[in-house]
């Protein structure tokens, strides 16, 4: 007789498999929380901080190998990353930051202007960050579109571009949307309004970052035709009030199952069958599918919520490290990391360079919106795309010509956080 662990005996017929699965995901989520940090010598080599989106061991290890000096990455949670970038710019050389935080970072002068003349492929960087329009027909989207925060003068003050200097080298970006389990929803999800559809009462989760959660809610309220917002990326107090006053009774009725704070939680919620649909980040879809749970990343007709990250250099960096910082940026834009993150659904600011490192089938699926010619793997080798799958929303150029709103820091940020607190306390 095969050996049975006490756990197996205990669970017996109570669906052992699902139990083990949830446990594994839970533990993985917990482990991600305690991020692993390597210590680098401050005098030589680079320390880079950012989110798990771009701070991935494989990427910094490859950089270390290619560049011949140590690049140490540290993946952090959003709040911690933001505070460290702002308050401890002597603790890192490279900040893999986000354009929507520039309202805070630029006046604080924690980063130095980047000279575009030292960026090898600057001419190849798409117009998404330079003019806001990826294609001439694109709409720029509401909120903190990256092109608004790209251009600076040599002192790091924001200017209306173009200029020789930029705040941050554009590198990786994506657009977020709703992830859903088609079995649980019973139909395709094609609008942000479904997040507030009463049919899904108790089966919806939102992102618990006030600045972003409120935008998803605004997209939903607007989609339902309840209110038209002037600028969802910069709401007035009255608009925030309208939104929160609409959400509070819904929450009291038990409409929301949870508000998630990190990637692992969002995966967990859907894998465990707690939610049918939720606002989600792109790699979560793959992670959920890898658990054997069907999950589709919706392409709502109202458009997507975009975000854009890049590489900034701390104001404290000079001399040899400054040269290394530019080398690292040039290495990033040369495409290897772009190809790496493309397999999680993210886009690179020089698509033609990412193409160099992608197989034809991968490029066709992730960028061109064509059906997968064969099974495709995520960056870590797990097959997540089956032959014949098509990416929702079509090609990169289709998706990015329809950004509804960019992640933003609103003028009424303090008021927003206050009302969001009230929403959660209600």
């Amino acid at each position: 007789m095969a050996y049975k662990s006490p756990g197996q005996v205990l669970q017996g017929k109570f669906s052992r498999r699902s139990f083990m699965k949830t446990t594994a995901v839970g533990v993985a989520a917990a482990a991600t929380g305690a991020s692993f940090m390597r210590i680098a010598e401050a005098a030589d080599g680079l320390r880079s901080i950012g989110l798990g989106v771009s701070e991935i061991n494989e990427i910094q290890d490859k950089a270390t190998k290619d560049l011949g000096f140590q690049v140490a990455g540290q993946a952090m949670g959003y709040g911690d990353m933001f505070s460290k970038m702002l308050n401890q710019n002597d603790q890192y050389e490279i900040a893999e930051g986000y354009y929507n935080d520039m309202d805070v970072m630029l006046p604080a002068k924690v980063w130095q202007p980047i000279d575009t003349k030292k960026i090898k492929d600057w001419e190849k960087v798409t117009n998404l960050t330079k003019t806001g329009k990826l294609t001439p027909e694109s709409s720029v989207g509401q909120g903190d579109a990256p092109y608004l925060f790209l251009w600076v003068d040599e002192n790091g003050n924001r200017v209306k571009g173009p200029s020789q200097y930029i705040s941050m080298a554009p590198a990786f970006h994506n657009a977020d949307s709703i992830g859903y389990n088609p079995k649980a929803t019973g139909k395709p999800i094609e609008s942000w309004g479904e997040l507030l559809n009463k049919d899904y009462k108790g089966k919806v989760a939102l992102l618990n970052v006030p600045q972003i959660g409120v935008m998803d809610a605004a997209l939903a309220v607007e989609a339902l035709g309840l209110k038209k917002f002037g600028d969802k990326g910069n709401m007035t107090k009255a608009e925030i009030d309208f939104l929160v006053d609409y959400l509070i009774p819904l929450k009291k009725q038990g409409h929301f199952r949870a508000f998630w704070e990190n990637f692992g939680q969002s995966v967990n919620l859907m894998v465990n069958g707690e939610v049918a649909l939720e606002s989600m980040w792109s790699p979560a879809v793959a992670a959920i599918q890898a658990e054997g749970v069907p999950c589709i990343y919706a392409f709502p007709k109202e458009g997507l919520r975009g975000w854009h990250g890049g590489l900034a250099i701390s104001a404290k960096v000079k001399g040899k490290q400054l040269d290394q910082a530019y080398e690292y940026i040039n290495w990033w834009l040369d495409g290897w990391p772009g190809a790496f993150v493309a397999r999680q659904g993210y886009y690179h600011s020089v698509p033609e360079n990412a193409k160099k490192y992608l197989e034809a089938a991968e490029w066709d699926y992730w960028y061109d919106g064509k059906p997968a010619a064969k099974d495709l793997a995520d960056p870590f080798g797990t097959v997540i795309i089956k032959k014949g799958d098509v990416r929702t929303g079509g090609s990169y150029w289709d998706r990015y010509s329809k950004i509804a709103v960019w992640n933003s820091l609103m003028d009424e940020n303090d008021y927003l956080v206050k009302r969001w607190t009230e929403f959660l306390t209600a």
Partner: protein
């Protein structure tokens, strides 16, 4: 040989049982005295200096700075020295408060309500912790005779502390979820037709997880205060005809009060500062003052985060003082 054993050997008395026996009565036995005469040792100031320095640098100064920062001005990306009560006004005031025409008439501010919610949960969980911890500690100290078993069971009660806090919270998910162990079990035996959702991401799961996380903090001190009670007192009471309930009410309970107070202070202080458990098992559907501090810290509004931190500290201090008022630890010890 342990001290107790040595002592009993020298004085020909049976050794005290239990993890902590009652303090041996020192007799004018010269041999014992010589053996246990204490070296005068270091002078008191030297002994307390390291701790004092540590507390001043890492506790007292930071607390003072939090208080000072709460009056500074927020710039959106940091703060500048100033002396403003704006953040305190923001904390207490509600738009339309005390205006009979306004919907907010007599509604306390969001931040006060959050502090109140935090407090309400804390009190509930404290009460449950006490109800669970006391019988457990009582059993360990009074019913388990053998020292070895006492130690073994006490360590067993501490097992949850051997793993990380987060794991302990996350471990509830596979138990309580819609497809969790409990729901699957109830479905299996036919008690329910479809999964019950209130087990997880609810006040129920939140309270349960908090109790499980913090009950150990109450067990320890109560156990120690119970174990310290001189068994001769209980025997004397029995000899004089006291009923078990009388013994408990007149002797055991009053003597265990310091343990209860210390345990409750631990639990109270930990719970008031709690913010992570709500995210994991309550699905972030409530906010505690801890969350508020974190949210304002995350948007670089440090002065306002400081105001909340200061208010939380004040609430904690009041709570601790109230507990200490109810039980005079110094006297009881």
């Amino acid at each position: 040989m342990t001290t107790v054993e040595t002592y009993s050997k020298l004085t020909h008395e049976p050794p005290q049982r239990g993890l902590i026996g009652s303090a041996p009565v020192v007799r004018p036995d010269e041999e014992v005295k010589r053996k246990y005469r204490r070296d005068p040792g270091f002078p008191v100031p030297v002994l307390i200096a390291p701790a004092t320095a540590w507390l001043i640098i890492f506790l007292f100064l930071p607390l003072i700075s939090i208080f000072i920062f709460s009056f500074w001005k927020s710039t959106g990306h940091g703060m500048v020295p100033a002396f403003t009560f704006d953040h305190y006004r923001e904390f207490f005031a509600t738009e339309g408060f005390f205006n009979p025409d306004n919907a907010n008439f007599l509604t306390p501010s969001v931040f006060l309500r959050t502090l109140w919610t935090t407090f309400r949960f804390t009190i509930t969980v404290m009460a449950i912790c006490l109800l669970l911890a006391y019988p457990l500690a009582y059993f360990l100290s009074m019913q388990v005779e053998d020292f070895k078993w006492q130690l073994a069971l006490f360590l067993l009660a501490m097992v949850p502390f051997w793993t990380s806090y987060l794991i302990r919270a996350v471990a509830w998910l596979p138990m309580l979820g819609r497809h969790g162990l409990i729901n699957e079990f109830l479905l299996d035996i036919g008690a329910i037709d479809e999964p019950v959702s209130f087990f997880l991401y609810s006040e129920f799961s939140y309270t349960m997880a908090l109790v499980q996380l913090y009950v150990v903090l109450a067990v320890g001190p109560i156990f120690f205060s119970l174990a310290k009670i001189d068994r001769n007192l209980l025997e004397a009471a029995r000899d004089m005809g006291a009923t078990p309930f009388q013994i408990f009410r007149e002797i055991i309970f009053p003597l265990s009060l310091p343990g209860i107070a210390i345990g409750m202070i631990f639990v109270f202080v930990m719970l008031m500062g709690e913010f992570a458990t709500a995210v994991v098992v309550y699905g972030g559907k409530t906010s505690t003052t801890g969350t508020v501090i974190l949210n304002y810290y995350a948007i670089a509004n440090y002065p306002f985060a400081a105001v909340n931190a200061f208010m939380l500290m004040l609430a904690m201090m009041i709570g601790v003082v109230v507990i200490l008022r109810l039980v005079d630890i110094r006297k009881e010890l």
